[in-house]
């Protein structure tokens, strides 16, 4: 008959005794493994009661506890620093012992979208294009133009960001005698017969506000009395005003390809950290965990062992004994283990939260306030000069 041995009060750890072997070669882990077995077994009632487990079960729980502890620590670090970590190379050996320098890379990366739309930066290239204006043709299909001239795919579109179809700047007609501003002096000089007495170009220094008003007057004049240069752009169909009277001029514009805007790959982050799963944190080095961390690990190991023991004792609801059946304490074990695991995790997360950058800065600020308050109670000597 098969007789599966159970824990007999002794254990001797050896590398390879844990399921994953993450820490098997760590001397401190090797030393603590058997101590944890003794601790857990005694907390469960051994040697008064048998523990229906083997040392391998204890080692597995111990390894899981260390890994869980590391996961909690590094998951917290990732949450804390993710904005600085996103996009950074993943080929670091490990970030476990590195202090993360905060940076604005993710904030700037997120802001690129606004720069793109505002035309003041971003990651989407603005292309330039032009089409030849035809006499008496007022409407032009830029979608058609894009297919022919912009080398875009049939499923892509362009979005026109800017059209260079404007009247000449008013400043170019500052001295235009026909602009109606009264500033032109050549005609006046000719009228009086003094044209040949005047230099070819004459300027009169005027105050700046005068110049601005004059330019505005030119523009108002054009808008009100003339057919102003303007356009309508709907669904990439552009209608220009006024109707061109000659062929050959070029209508220039800037556009983006919608496929460029829809591109979801942030430039410069290829192969970098893309999510929390590839932030280069590794399992912790057990020998570097301090006593506070180790005590948490011991207690979590006990909870895990309790859980396993509950499952072992509870595989069958009742255990047959000669002429009767007994119900073991598996339900109590599992309930207690679940509760303890949750409490331990909550305690650790609370502890980590208390050391978050936000909380630490809050505390520092609070300390500074209290210091100021206390110092204000110190009598100030009155200076008499």
């Amino acid at each position: 008959m098969a007789n599966i041995s159970i824990y007999d009060g002794t254990s001797l750890f050896y590398p390879g005794a844990t399921p994953f072997g993450f820490y098997d070669n760590d001397y401190q882990f090797q030393t603590d493994a058997d101590k944890v077995v003794t601790f857990s077994a005694r907390r469960l009632g051994y040697p008064i009661e048998n523990i229906e487990l083997q040392d391998l079960n204890f080692y597995a729980a111990f390894e899981e506890a260390v890994t869980t502890y590391g996961n909690e620590i590094y998951a917290y670090k990732i949450r804390q620093d993710y904005l600085s970590l996103e996009g950074t190379p993943t080929n670091y050996t490990s970030l476990n012992t590195d202090v993360i320098q905060p940076n604005l890379s993710s904030i700037i990366r997120m802001s690129h979208q606004y720069g793109t739309e505002a035309g003041v930066g971003g990651t989407v290239t603005w292309h330039t294009g032009s089409l030849v204006v035809t006499q008496d043709q007022q409407n032009y299909d830029l979608n058609l133009w894009a297919q022919d001239s912009a080398s875009i795919s049939t499923t892509d579109r362009i979005e026109v960001k800017r059209v260079f179809f404007e009247a000449p700047p008013a400043i170019t007609r500052y001295f235009d005698p026909y602009a109606g501003t009264g500033t032109g002096t050549a005609e006046m000089m000719d009228t009086f017969g003094w044209g040949d007495k005047s230099p070819a170009i004459s300027f009169m220094m005027m105050p700046m506000n005068y110049d601005l008003q004059k330019l505005q007057a030119i523009e108002f004049n054009d808008q009100i009395r003339k057919s102003q240069f303007t356009f309508e752009l709907v669904n990439n169909n552009i209608r220009i005003f006024p109707i061109p009277k000659v062929s050959g001029g070029k209508l220039r514009f800037e556009y983006i390809k919608e496929s460029d805007r829809n591109s979801i790959n942030a430039p410069g982050t290829s192969g970098g950290v893309s999510n929390v799963s590839n932030v280069p944190y590794k399992n912790p080095t057990y020998s570097e965990i301090n006593s506070i961390g180790r005590q948490w690990i011991f207690e979590y190991t006990l909870a895990l062992v309790k859980e396993v023991l509950g499952y072992v004792r509870g595989k069958y609801g009742t255990i047959p004994i000669p002429g009767a059946e007994v119900t073991l304490n598996h339900a109590d074990l599992i309930a207690a283990a679940t509760l303890e695991k949750g409490a331990l995790l909550e305690r650790l997360r609370g502890y980590l939260e208390e050391t978050s950058r936000e909380k630490l800065l809050e505390r520092r600020a609070l300390e500074a306030d209290y210091k100021q308050k206390e110092l204000s109670l110190v009598p100030q000597p009155i200076f008499i000069g």
Partner: protein, 173 residues
């Protein structure tokens, strides 16, 4: 296909039963196995030189006691008490004891003779001694039944026997 009650599970049951019976309940009896070969009988089937037993064995058991009653036999009050001894079958296997009717169990300073032996407490309803294999050692429906289930207990119904009728002296222990 059998899934539950494999020998590993049975081993767990054995551990728990032994912990319960040996370390927690710890009821012990002395078992006297009737030695058929050494006993000589006359033509009436009566022993001629007293009953002879094999070397006694101490066993763990669970005892279910009924109240004793006193009945008059030949004008004399005689104690009568029924007791059930429940043994873990694996303990008996380890002690090489085959429990049979007529064997004597000593508990404390009294003796009980076994009237009836019950052996039908099968875990998951199977006894690995009956895997139903053919001459080639295979079961056409399912193989490996010899690794599942167990006959867990031997339960003995016994009645009180006065010491003088058993003829076992204490110094023979």
């Amino acid at each position: 296909m059998s899934l539950y009650g494999e020998s590993r599970d049975i081993s767990l049951f054995r551990h728990i039963n032994r912990e319960l019976m040996h370390d927690i309940i710890s009821q012990q009896v002395i078992y006297y196995k009737y030695n058929l070969e050494e006993n000589t009988v006359n033509i009436y089937g009566e022993t001629t030189s007293g009953r002879i037993f094999q070397e006694p064995v101490i066993l763990y058991t669970i005892i279910e006691r009924n109240d004793n009653t006193a009945v008059l036999e030949d004008g004399l009050p005689t104690l009568n008490q029924k007791v059930v001894f429940k043994f873990l079958r694996d303990d008996l296997v380890d002690a090489s004891v085959l429990v049979e009717e007529g064997d004597i169990v000593q508990w404390q300073n009294a003796y009980w003779e076994i009237d009836n032996v019950i052996s039908n407490q099968y875990v998951v309803g199977k006894d690995p001694l009956y895997p139903n294999t053919d001459s080639t050692g295979t079961n056409p429906l399912e193989s490996g039944l010899e690794n599942f289930g167990t006959s867990l207990s031997i339960i003995c119904n016994a009645h009180y026997v006065p010491a003088d009728r058993v003829g076992i002296d204490k110094q023979r222990l």
